[in-house]
Each structure stands twice: as C-alpha cells, then as structure tokens.
C-alpha cells in the first residue's frame, strides 16, 4: 500500500536497527512436510475444546486459535487488517448481520469454489441463505438465536395474569404487572440492534435487501413499512407509559433486574438458557419459556436474534485448507457439538444436531425441568429469508441513537424509523448505492 521511496528508506533504517530481525521471530514458517497451519479468530466460550477436537481428528491441518475480542472489537481488527492488506487470520468468526459488510469490503473468500455448497442441506435454510449469495458461499453457519418469550412463571401464576400469546395481550400484561408491583416492569427496552431487529423480523418486517450477485451497488431499505413501524410503536408506547424499563441488555444492572423480580419477561433467544443459567442464581427454577406473542392471534411468525458463522478471509494462505477448517470445526463433529451444546450453550444451526432428541429432550433445571428446546427448534425451522445491508453497523448504530433519543424524550417514537430511514438512505447514496424501497 505504501510503495513510496521514504517507505523503503524507513524500512532500510529499521533493518539496520535490527527490528526486522526481532519481528521475523514472530511468524513461524510452515514446514513444507508438516501439517498446514490455519489461524482462526473466534470468541465462542469453551472454544479451546473444539479446536483440540479438530486438531486431534485432522493430521494435515492444524488450527491456531486466537480470541482477539468480542464482536465489534474483533470486527474493528478485521477491518484494519483488510485496509492494511495484511494481518487478518485465515478463518474468522463473523455474525450473520456482518457478512454482507465484509463481502463488500472484499474480505471474504467464496468457499463455493472449494466445495462448500455440499453443506447446503446440513444447515437451517434461513441460515444458509444469509451465509450465501446465489452459489457463492461466504460463510458457514454455526449457531443461531431463534426467539421465544422467557417469563417468570411463578409471578404470572401467583397473580393470575395469563401468559401473553399476542402482543396486544403483552401490552395488557404490562399494565397488570405494574398494577400488582409498582417497581416491576414487564421487560426492558434493551437498546440492542440485534434484538430490535429480531422483533421486527418476527413482525414480518423485511427492511433490507442486498445481493452482490444481482448488483453490487443496489440496496433496498424500507424501514417505514407498517410491519416495522408497529414494533417500534408498541414498544415506544410501553416505554412512554412507564411500563417498560430502559436498562441496556447485558449490563450488570439488567442482569440484576432479571434476577430480582424487576423484569417479568425477556423476549430472548435460543442461546438464552445458557446465558441466564449461569448469571441468575436467585430466580433459577422460576422461569419458563413460551412461544413469542403474535401480531395476529393464532399466527406463527418467528424471528431470530443473533448467530454466527465462520468465514475464510482473502488473506488466507491456503484457502482450501481454511475452507475445511470453517466447515469442520463444528459441522458434523460430534465432539465439537457436545461442547457447543453442553458447555457453551450454543443453539445449533446444523439441522440434525438441533433435531436430535438429546437436544430437544433436554430438561433445564433453570426452567424447572421444562424442555425449552422443544420451543426453540420449531422456531428455527419456521424462520424465513431475511437479508441485511452491507453497512449494517451504520444502520444498527443509527437506530440505536434514534431510539435513545426517543427514550430520553427528545424524539417522538413514531419518528424513529422515519429518521433512521432518512439517515440510512443518505448514507447509502453517499457510499454510491442506488437505493430502492
């Protein structure tokens, strides 16, 4: 990138200083006869066991795993590495909503050319379609977050409040909860882009569309569709009435509130059982899971919150080997999924693993023996297509900033999506996209 003269001079100077000698010790050279070494960035919990299992079962390929940070921290590093033209790993964990972003940054390898399309039927359809673009395979799905409603069964029972099956009933329940306990809320509006996105997904809102295979510079943005607006309006109304708290999810405050009876529900996801079981000690055994409330009584619309994949970067030295790593770290590996399900509490996107009675029939003490995966698995099967923009960070951040304004009272909830739509369209056009609705 910096092929200028002074660069060469600076480099020469540093050679004299002996710095390159030091730096050279950093990278171990591949032994031509030994196994191919593939570097992996990922932040899954308990991942070491998965890597060990892979390395034990593969002679020619060995994985070097690094945890360089969670989510945004790792993405920032990937983006700098792509900009610098070096420094990226061979394989990187990437969440679904980020895949188009890294595709347009020209950072990801199409694994289709290395046979990854063979895995198509292994994974849940919605996940495979988000990971691919036509027959180009940019990512191999690992885990997902089909949504369901976690609620305090003991409190709902005790006060005779019916568990909501529609969002209308949910709003009713919110008022009833406030009536029986003025310090309690039905839930918190958690200021989390993925969560709000999952709720909109469940409401039938499909605000984004992008396919590089179709056109690199065309993007669909339609946040003001009624299916999207109704979600923000419902939640905005609950916040305005003081029926919904405003703690940001995953802060110690929000966790403490879940564990103290301050929140009675949490519209959560397939990875929740693991998340809550470790941190909510006081209320263990008092929770249960119900299907998401519906917008139309009797309907069966579902959404997803979270989920991740493995991608192969264009800086990979051996793309074929890297593809093997991305496909087989989890993939069909029984050992890996045993760790993934029972220690890391991932929701598996491998259909056979999700359908296995060992998973669906598992009773959770935290949910008083309820087999909650019997609820999550059908949700994942029901999920349809949902696309993202190639600048999803901007969209989520803007959405987050606008809802924050609404929470502080400096903006009407009804204008949140309108404003985000305006900002996102302006941004997209500045980036050279043709925007359609």
């Amino acid at each position: 990138m910096l092929g200028t003269k002074w660069m060469a001079k600076l480099r020469a100077g540093l050679v004299v200083a002996g710095l390159l000698a030091v730096a050279a010790c950093g990278g171990a050279a591949d032994n031509p006869d030994g196994p191919v070494r593939v570097s992996v960035w990922a932040w899954y919990p308990e991942f070491k066991g998965v890597v060990d299992a892979f390395n034990a079962s593969h002679k020619d390929i060995q994985v070097d795993w690094t945890n360089v940070g969670t989510g945004p921290d790792q993405y920032a590093k990937l983006k700098t590495a792509f900009t610098a033209g070096k420094g990226a790993p061979d394989v990187a964990m990437v969440e679904f909503q980020q895949i188009p972003t890294f595709v347009i940054l020209d950072g990801l390898v199409d694994m289709g050319q290395y046979g990854a399309n063979d895995d198509k039927n292994l994974y849940a359809e919605w996940a495979w379609s988000q990971a691919t673009d036509g027959d180009k395979v940019y990512a191999i799905p690992v885990d997902g977050g089909p949504m369901a409603l976690m609620y305090r069964k003991d409190l709902f029972d005790q006060h005779g409040i019916p568990v909501p099956t529609t969002w209308l009933e949910y709003a009713d329940a919110a008022a009833k909860i406030k009536a029986v306990d003025p310090n309690a809320y039905i839930a918190s509006f958690g200021s989390d882009g993925g969560w709000l996105n999952g709720l909109m997904w469940q409401a039938g809102c499909r605000p984004y569309g992008y396919s590089q295979a179709r056109a690199k510079d065309e993007v669909k943005i339609n946040l003001t569709a009624p299916e999207c607006e109704k979600v923000v309006n419902l939640y905005g109304d609950l916040v305005n009435k003081g029926l919904m708290a405003q703690d940001k999810f995953f802060t110690a405050d929000a966790t403490a509130a879940l564990d103290s009876g301050k929140y009675w529900t949490w519209a959560a996801a397939g990875w929740t059982p693991g998340y809550v079981a470790g941190s909510l000690k006081n209320t263990a055994g008092k929770w249960a899971v119900a299907p998401m409330p519906q917008w139309t009584a009797g309907a069966d619309e579902q959404g997803d919150w979270g989920g991740s994949t493995f991608t192969v970067t264009k800086q990979a030295k051996n793309q074929q080997a890297a593809t093997t790593v991305a496909r087989e770290l989890f993939g069909r590996s029984k050992t890996a999924w045993d760790i993934g399900l029972n220690k890391a509490f991932l929701y598996p996107l491998v259909k056979d693993v999700a359908a296995d009675p060992a998973f669906t029939g598992k009773a959770y003490d935290f949910f008083n023996g309820q087999k909650v995966n019997e609820i999550f698995v059908p949700v994942s099967e029901k999920l349809g297509e949902f696309q993202y923009t190639p600048f999803q960070d901007f969209v989520f951040k803007d959405l987050n900033d606008r809802t924050a304004e609404a929470m502080s009272g400096s903006r009407q909830w009804s204008t949140v999506l309108e404003e985000t739509q305006k900002n996102v369209v302006a941004y997209a056009e500045k980036q050279g996209f043709k925007v359609s609705r």
């Binding site: 660069m7 945890n67 920032a76 610098a84 470790g278």
Partner: protein
C-alpha cells in the same frame, strides 16, 4: 506549626480541614470500592451493599485471576510493565538529550523545532494511531511489542519539560568551564548535566510510564494476540466477554480484582517517588 501560634492556627484551619476531608472522601471512595469489590465473589458483587464487605473471596479471586484463560493475566501484567518500562526509559533518554540540546546549543532550525513542540502535543492520538498502524503493518511489526513501544517513545511534552528545566537549573557557565577543560560534549552531558537534570528526568520517566501503562487505544489497535495484550486491553476484553456470556463465565469479579492489581503498582510508585517528581513538575509548570 509553632507552639505559640498553635491555638490561633487550629481556630483558623478547621474550615480548610473540613474541605480537605470532603476531598479525601471524594477521591478515596471509588478506590475503596475497588478494594472492597475485589474481595467479593461475582454473585456477591452484584448482590451485596457496594461499600461494605460480603464473604471474603479475595484470595479465590486472585487465584482465579491468575489461572483464567491459561493464566493470561500474568502475561498481561508482565507485558504492561515491560512496555511501560521500555517506553518510559527510551522516551526519557530521548527527551533528556533533546531537551539539553535545545536548551544549551544553537543550530539551524532550532527555533522552529521549539515552536513546533507545543503543536505536537495537540495532535489527537486517534489521528496518529491508524496511519501508524498501516505503516508498521507495512514493516511487519504490528502485533509485536515494538508496535506499542516504538510509538510510545514520542514524548514532546517530555522534551519540552527537560528543556525548560535545563534552562533554569544547569548553568551555562558550568558547561563552558568544562569545555575549557576540554571535556567532550557527551561527557559534559553525562557527568555534569545529567545529575543536575535528575528531578526533571524522574518526572518525565514517571509521566511517560503512566501514559504507556494506562494507554488503551494504541495497543488495542496494534495487537491481536491476547498473550501480547497489556492490562487495559486485556481487562476490557474480559469485561466485554463478561457481558457477552455472563452465564458461562464468572468474569466481573476478575475484572474488578484485575483492575485493583493493575492500579496498585503505579500508586505505590508515585507515592514513594513523589519527592523527586514534584520538583520536576514545578519546572514545567513555572514556565
């Protein structure tokens, strides 16, 4: 403080003492909280009165701290000390020579360079880190300790402070006398000027030590290998992980205990060395 004025003094100083007492409370309570919180297990941390002890769990926390993720915290501690020590030594040496040269010599471009020093202090670090990353990446030294140490050698404020201090405290006549004695310039610098500059050098050393010890942004961008992280980056990584999968791992208590252990060495260093650096700081402040 004399016995004669004692009665008068106590009468007149109760107000300053009350105000200082309030100040001590203000500055101390958050630190006290860290100390208390470091003795709690994760459930107690989120569930017991913030400023009072629960079950004493400090030793378990420390044990867990040094064993989590294969004992990586120990590496962070060593890295931090190493990066900060090397950077501070290097920056102090550079600042000492440059400050002395600027104060006691005349050469082309000196005026301009001196004026530029203040300007250099104003450059936002975020503006430098990214281009520096791209350049160091070209040289293949990102994700090594040098990517953190080398940029940290830059201390315009240090050079400025030494310059001011030499101006005030190293007499020209002494240097001239040494020259008449035919002492070499390096020897004059090393044997005559350096000892007199000591308070300024201690100050520059401590301040660059703190700056590197506490730096977050530079190592965050430069390093991607957890074994190379300094404490600030490592602890934030743990904090993020703690939020991400609170259920799977008990990390909040480790973040707190780790923070306490990260603070202690610097506080001790400053309190012990304050006699030295205060006079150096005064020189910088007077000018």
């Amino acid at each position: 403080m004399t016995s004669g004025a004692a009665g008068n003094t106590t009468a007149r100083t109760w107000l300053p003492h009350v105000l200082m007492g309030a100040g001590i409370l203000y500055f101390l309570v958050p630190l006290l909280w860290v100390v208390i919180a470091a003795t709690k297990s994760q459930p107690d941390l989120l569930d017991s009165p913030a400023l009072w002890f629960a079950d004493f769990n400090l030793l378990e926390n420390i044990e867990q701290l040094f064993s989590e993720d294969g004992g990586v915290y120990g590496a962070w501690l060593v890295n931090t000390a190493l990066y900060a020590g090397l950077s501070a030594l290097g920056a102090t040496a550079l600042a000492a020579a440059a400050g002395y040269g600027l104060a006691r010599f005349s050469f082309m471009g000196k005026r301009f360079f001196e004026t530029a020093l203040l300007g250099m202090i104003m450059v936002p670090a975020t503006a430098l880190v990214l281009p520096t990353y791209l350049i160091l990446s070209e040289l293949d030294i990102v994700n090594t300790m040098w990517a953190v140490v080398l940029p940290s050698l830059l201390s315009p404020f240090g050079a400025y402070l030494v310059r001011v201090y030499v101006d005030e405290s190293v007499p020209v006549e002494l240097i001239d006398a040494a020259r008449i004695d035919r002492a070499g310039e390096l020897r004059i610098f090393w044997q005559i000027a350096m000892p007199m500059m000591r308070p300024a050098l201690v100050t520059v050393f401590l301040f660059t030590l703190v700056a590197t010890w506490n730096n977050y942004f530079l190592p965050l961008v430069m390093l991607s290998d957890a074994d190379l992280y300094p404490l600030t980056v490592g602890l934030t990584t743990w904090f993020n992980t703690a939020q991400q999968d609170a259920g799977n791992r008990m990390l909040f208590n480790l973040v707190v205990t780790g923070s306490l252990l990260a603070i202690v060495p610097l506080v001790v260093a400053f309190v012990l060395l304050q006699r030295f650096w205060r006079s150096g700081a005064a020189a910088g402040a007077l000018k």
